[in-house]
Amino acid sequence: MNLTNTLEIQETFPDIADEMLKAQTKDVNLYYKDFHALKNINFAIKANTVTALIGPSGCGKSTFLRLFNRMNDLISGVKITGDVLLEGENIYKKGIVVDELRKSVGMVFQKPNPFPKSIYENVAYGLRVNGYDHKDSIDEIVERSLKQAALWDEVKDKLKKSAYELSGGQQQRLCIARALAIEPSLILMDEPASALDPLSTSKIEELIYDLKNKYTIVIVTHNMQQAGRVSDYTAFFYLGELIEYDKTKTMFINPQNIKTQNYITGRFG
């Protein structure tokens, strides 16, 4: 981590300075062909916290989230400048093997997207593609991951059944378990509860709260209350810019920027 950047972040968020930073972006710009989607973003994510990314549709928050596991690479015509650091290492430098990187960054998507395989095989997938084939330890990891995702009790008797037999909320927790199985150092969640009913949503939120002890989570959400409930830090994006970034409490009670205030209070977005 370079010194000037630490100082910069120290200025903005004094309480982060002494902590280990899980991830950081420095002067990141992203273009879809001619469209300037992310503008000069400097950002830091503290370890073992939940950081919420909020903002109106099209503000770039999902694109920003996908910087950390290079999922934007899949879209043709994307150009990225600046540095994205994960545990101090620039993940966009030459020589980075993208699929190696993605093993250390888990992702949970907007809609539950389990594979058309058994519950067990869904969780084991990440292990198998990474060349892990010791059956006993896979059993163990599957059980542990399902427990961490608060799904074990509901599925322990039907691990061989298709994942499609689960409800939407269970499927999403299965996807979380699937991401946890590869023990990522950072978990990205792209509106993980937006396709779920309120009860399932609250389960997911509880889960996120619990996972914080062990993992670092970045979550994109449209739901202000959700951001308020689950996150320690909140970042507000607007038209590709990072407008405001602060402790969630501070930001919700006393937003510095008028745009943030308007968005949080529901005047636009």
Binding site: L74, P116, V129, C175
Partner: protein, 399 residues
Amino acid sequence: MNRKRLKIFEKVFGAVLFSSSTVTSLTVLFIIVFLFNEGIGLFNSTPVEKKYQFIVSNNNTVKELSSKQLKDIFNYDITNWKQLGGSNDSILLFTINDLSTYFTDDELGANFENLPSKINELIKKNPGILAYLSDKYVPQHLEGHVIPLTKISIKDFVTGTEWYPTSEPAPQFGVLPLILGTLWVSFGAILIALPLGLATAIFMAEVASQRLRNILKPVIELLAGIPSVVYGFFGLVVLVPLIQQLFNLPVGETALAGSIILGIMALPTIITVSEDALRTTPTSLKEASLALGATRWQTITRVTVPYARSGITAASILGIGRAVGETMAVLMVTGNAGVIPHTFLQPVRTIPATIAAELGESSYGGLHFKALFALGILLFLITLIINTSVELIKSRKRS
């Protein structure tokens, strides 16, 4: 007024649509009925030309003769009635051509007026006789009896191993070699076309850039547009000599040549249908796989292809369907020997090629003609099964 005219127009339009579909359905129905009507006639008919009879001695206990047994008798493979469950008498074959061996012209009379009595005499004298006679030579007061022939059964038709539809006096209508020939060639074709087609489909759906795909796609569609006789010509001139040299064979016209040509012909179907199936794999699943650290190839083999499995199965069955029914190209390169094949390097004869090659030389309404129609029914049933299974696979996928 305007509204009224619109109503009339709609009625006319509806009537046109209705009658078009009626005509179409009726045509299809007519063709099927025609096919079955002609083909079914083969069964329950006797395997011998009309106006000819087989006559045996009155002491002969054999009840009936099948076409196969007749052939064996005429080839001297069966020489004693014992072999057919009769008494221990060696078989004496007699046809009208043998007349001069037994009787002089004087004995028969100037106008063959003694012929019936002489034949009766012969039959009486030889308990082992089997006389093959035209109706007009059969004596009125026959001292022997006409032995009935086994009617052609569906079982004999399907399991018979010999296809000699024009042999005299006992044509053989065993289509097993033709069925096996068809299956061998089709199976070989799919063995060649499926890996190649699937690889191309994966390449086009997952790997190739949009620009490359825009070039590849029309090329593959062009492949589907080449007339089959051109494929056959290509096979005959290029492939057949190549196979002959490569495997050092007496002839290059083999099942392998047919399989390769059919494989190439089935490629467009297999590629297009499997590519469409591969494209139905949701992006979200592919992203989930990639986000877990899977490489692109792992994602293709573990997520994309398994997801498209039923579509790929449908593609290969459709490909087989194309191969089974293909006529011209196969006719040109497989050598058309109606024997049961044991390797891919033997000539084979397929059902459609048989129909195409022989229909012209069969007499209208004759047994051979009916047998070819029965082959047509068989082919129709095979393709019906194939198409139905494709539909089943598709509907299972939907549910």
